[in-house]
């Protein structure tokens, strides 16, 4: 028995050595490292589960009671066996722990050349700011390569999770946290708020759009031109206001119903309030909805809209823009 114990222990130590060496190797992509970590864990877990459940099912049949009040064998313990199932779990724990530690270090060590963007969370959306100072709502554009996100919140605790890149970190009011990921391929990747933040939590969604470097530079140029144009036209200013203030996170302009009603064709439309009265949506109603959303709640939607102060001229710009949404 003792020889078996010693044999198993030394075999596991031999296994441990190359795996720790692998763990120290630089991964350059936490997401890829995560998958190999997951696989090692999965194999170990399946083995453990079988080691437990096979005797769990087999023993009750093998050792079923044949006579009333028949006693089992009088066995008080077995030191060698007990040491075996202390030492093997410790070795497994060390193995997984060392690998996880290395992976975690990778997750928290940002490459020096990373593209650095910022996100500020609020109930219920993400304000994203590019290093060039362009602010967008619920949509972050980044060039291919490593990206560092600096995260904070305006109100309660939120979380910035991008499942595709296997990263997440909470967004706390009053302090800045960070995460980084390696955006290897152009595409759109969904972002979720992963920290319960209230009634709109499940609608607090965004996306990361990964672009080729050239496409990204072109987009930046276009955005800068657009904000100059917006200063000259109330419609464009209204659009920019809605996008930047997060309105379009809950109110689509396409007719799709999200957390709130769509803005498409909303001006002049008749709508039913929570108290079953009917109103016509006009400029005054829109203005009141923005500054004091709970005063007149629209039937069928949850009371989650935060109030927003308007500067002179902004209400008119928004109405001008809404008129264009037929």
């Amino acid at each position: 028995m003792q020889r078996i114990v010693l044999g198993v222990i030394s075999a596991l130590f031999v296994l441990l050595t190359p795996l720790t060496a692998f763990a120290q190797e630089k991964l350059h992509d936490p997401a890829a490292g995560w998958y190999s970590h997951f696989n090692l864990w999965l194999i170990i877990s399946i083995v453990i589960y079988l080691v437990v459940t096979i005797p769990l099912i087999y023993f009750p049949f093998k050792y079923r009671r044949k006579k009333t009040n028949q006693d089992g064998a009088y066995i008080q313990g077995n030191t060698a066996l007990e040491i075996l199932w202390i030492v093997i779990p410790i070795i497994i724990t060390l193995l997984l722990g060392v690998q996880s530690w290395a992976l975690f270090t990778e997750y928290r060590t940002v490459p020096k050349d990373a593209f650095e963007a910022k996100s500020v969370a609020f109930m219920y959306g993400f304000e994203m700011t590019s290093p060039e100072g362009i602010t967008t709502m619920n949509e972050l554009r980044v060039p291919v390569g490593p990206v560092k996100m600096n995260l904070t919140s305006k109100d309660v605790i939120h979380d910035f999770a991008i499942p595709h890149f296997r990263v997440r970190e909470d967004m706390l009011p009053g302090r800045t946290t960070y995460l980084w990921f390696n955006a290897k391929k152009p595409g759109e990747y969904p972002v979720f708020c992963s920290f319960y933040c209230g009634t709109g939590h499940s609608g607090m969604l965004a996306k990361v759009i990964v672009m080729e470097k050239n496409d990204y530079d072109e987009w930046v140029k276009k955005q800068k031109g657009a904000s100059e144009a917006a200063a000259a036209s109330p419609e464009l200013m209204g659009k920019e206001l809605l996008d930047k203030s997060g309105c379009t996170g809950c109110h689509s302009i396409t007719g799709e119903v999200k957390m709130g009603p769509s803005l498409k064709g909303i001006l002049g439309k008749k709508t039913i309030l929570a108290d079953d009265s009917t109103v016509t949506v006009d400029e005054a109603f829109i203005k009141e909805k923005i500054t004091n959303p709970e005063a007149k709640r629209i039937k069928g939607f949850p009371p989650v809209m935060p109030p927003t102060q308007l500067k002179p001229g902004e209400s008119e710009a928004i109405s001008a823009y809404l008129k264009t949404l037929k």
């Binding site: 023993f59 050792y63 028949q70 089992g72 066995i75 706390l172 992963s194 709109g200 949850p302």
Partner: protein, 532 residues
Amino acid sequence: MAEQPTGLRSWIFTTDHKKIGVMYLVTALVFFVVGLLLAAVMRTENLDMARKTIIIGPYLYNVFFTIHGAAMVLFWMIPVLLGFFANYMIPLMIGAHDVAFPRLNALSYWFYVGSGLIAVCGLILPGRLDIGWTGYAPYSLVGGANTAFYVFAVHLLGASSISGAVNFITTIITLRAPGMTWGRLNLTVWGLLGAFIIQLVGVPVLAAAVTLLLFDKYLGTSFYNAFKGGNPLLYEHLFWFYGHPAVYVVALPVFGIVSDIIATFARKKIFGYTSMVIAIMLITVVGFETWVHHLFVAGTLNWSRVVFMWATIFIGVPTGIKIFNWLATLHKGSIELTAPMLYALGFISLFTIGGVTGVANGLVGFDISVHDTHWIVAHFHYVLAISMSMLIMGGIYYWFPKFTGKMYNEKLAKFAFWLTLIGAMVAFFPQFIIGYDGIPRRYWKLPVEYTPHMRIAAIFSYIAIIGFFLTLYNFLHSAMKGKPASSNPWNSKSLEWQIPSPPPFYNFEKIPVITEGPYEYGKPEGEAPKGH
């Protein structure tokens, strides 16, 4: 010898540990039913992931998962274990007439009832609690919830828990019968002792945490307000300092009950009694060094996450010892598959799934991808919620003849067991897949592609819930109309089975003198038992 009083007044004003125990059981079962019904409604709401209200809508969904969590952890599992099992079994198992402080014991129960009523207010009165059972600041401060319901429910329950802990720790230390050495205690008593130590150390910290919440919300202080110099992470730390060990408050007594059931129905001495006790005490102590794994992505310091990873995954070692000792106890036993035994074996199977996924969550690099996702929901339902609730059913069946004097319906018990086990096994598995994809939990609606997953989850959770309801029916029906049971139907060697069922007032006519441990089945003449 006093006559046992009867009538309603004798229940309300009782200081008898057995009557208080039964009242704990009945009250806790009511909260269990509430928790199950809330779960059923939430599962129904998840049948279709299109953003449309099916029954309750996003706000009530959040209220329901808040009360579901609180009811199941705070008002069902902890009270049924530390209220019912501890009250009823500890004096019988250690050979005492009653607990050390019988009046304090009655007070604990009534604090618990009061706390439960406040929690129910949080479900039905305006300002419903939608803050999660964790009550995280700052949402609990700035949202529309009447956080006072939460704070006062925790305060009263805390008073109940602390006085219960003081009472039972004293009872176990001072009221053991002559000859009842530490090495002859039932493992249920050891598990409960560990749980009470955690309650005594941890609950005051939780009480402090929610008190500051109350000050912040209603008195204008800013302990947790980041914009006035406070820190919302402080709440998370204080909450989980108790909140994580609270898991072991449930787990340790459950481990003990599993050991007692297995020893009785395998008619075999517990394998490695001493290592079982050491494992319980290790978990009690190390359980307090793991809480930061709940804050693995909360912006905590990087090195602290690594330190707490090691403590967290180390808990797997004593837990593993317990599982392997149970298997070794089954080996060469004389096993009878009664309903309690089925529940014990089913528990080990479900708990192992929860255990290995728990190691995954403890691994700091692994956790980043699954933190606060459906993976976590699946994990804690396997490891804690459903496996331990099932084992509690097994424990109630095991001692049913003792505390009612009646026999339960074995066939119905087994049928309900299989329904619950199959339901539980399947109901939470799709959530591992959803969580593997990184989709967050506490979502009223998930992305639409997860509709099929959640439909499977819903159907099998209904099956598990039906199983639980059949079990409850069996309890109720058998308690009233069951066949009379003998004083020791399992022919167990444990002390609580050596007296009549139900036990007389004051339990023992004369305090017994103990000469051997509770698990000495088949001891050959002349062999010295270990662990004495």
